[in-house]
Amino acid sequence: MGKPTIDHGDQKKLSVLIVDDCSSVQVLHRVWALKLGLEVHIAENGKIAVDLHRSGASFDLILMDLAMPIMNGEQATRELRAMGVDAMIVGVTAYDDGPERQAFVGAGLNACYSKPFTEFNLAPLVQVIKEINEKSI
């Protein structure tokens, strides 16, 4: 399979917020995102993600884990949408299809992927965001 690539053109870098409490997953997702030319930020749980947005931060893409301490992905997604955050929020979870995953999607996700999540999942999402941004100019 050919390596996924992104046509960067002259556009500003897209930013991604990786929300996951597992440090090995943070590092992996970070490297995939850097390879695709994204600016990467990390939050260890849903509360940190929500607090970042409350303090004025914004991101083009949010990769949201579900099972996290303090505030899980479902709660965080619900709060972000209630705050008016309209960035693409993509769930990345080890939960299979079931009530937890359905509730997670219902909280306001744009999409939900099962772990392991790689650049082959990330690249098409980034391309979609770029196309949306181009159309809105």
């Binding site: 409490d21 597992c22 440090s23 090995s24 997953v25 590092v27 992996l28 490297v31 995939w32 390879k35 884990d65 579900l66 099972a67 996290m68 301490p69 899980n72 979870t93 080890a94 939960y95 772990k115 392991p116 999540f117 790689t118």
Partner: protein
């Protein structure tokens, strides 16, 4: 290791991310994974040690370890985590204990393999770096004083094969 099912193609992809700009990537991810996994296993062991298991409190940890093992490509351990998930969903303490034992067993096997891989990758990286340094020194030397390049390459290949044999012996 791929044939044994300990690691799958996800780990191969992860190895592919290590390069000159990220020379310690595999070691970094492996170290973090082992730390994460041990913490989660400790939590799971705590819940399973209770007379009455709180399966709903335990559930997030079951999914955390499944997510972590699948992300690194630890195939057998991920399968054991799926067993724990099913047992936990069924609220069957006995099945959960069996699954947790399996997770511990696969975790021990995995740690041994991962440490060997990290050692080998570090050795290869060091040898490649030394080879490059030697190569740049050779370029500055006169033609008569240069060693035949094949001797250096032969030494590198021999060492690589030696470590491959070590890994095979440890299987």
């Amino acid at each position: 290791m791929l044939e044994e099912g300990i690691l799958d193609s996800q780990f191969t992809q992860l190895q592919g991310l290590q390069d000159e700009s990220n020379p310690n990537f595999v070691a970094e991810v492996v170290t973090l994974f082992i730390k994460d996994a041990q913490k989660i296993i400790n939590h799971l062991s705590y819940y399973m040690s209770q007379e009455v298991v709180d399966f709903s409190e335990m559930d997030p940890y079951v999914h955390q370890i499944k997510g972590s093992t699948s992300s690194i490509g630890a195939r057998n351990m991920t399968l054991a985590c799926s067993d724990l998930h099913q047992a936990s969903d069924a609220k069957n303490k006995e099945m959960c204990l069996q699954a947790l034992n399996k997770i511990n067993h696969e975790y021990c096997r995995l740690q041994v393999k991962l440490h060997l891989i990290v050692q080998l990758q570090n050795t290869i990286f060091t040898m490649e770096t030394n080879e490059r340094l030697r190569g740049s020194r050779y370029a500055a030397m006169s033609m008569q004083r240069r060693f035949p390049r094949f001797k250096v390459l032969f030494g590198f290949i021999s060492s690589f094969l030696f470590f491959q044999l070590l890994i095979t012996k440890h299987k």
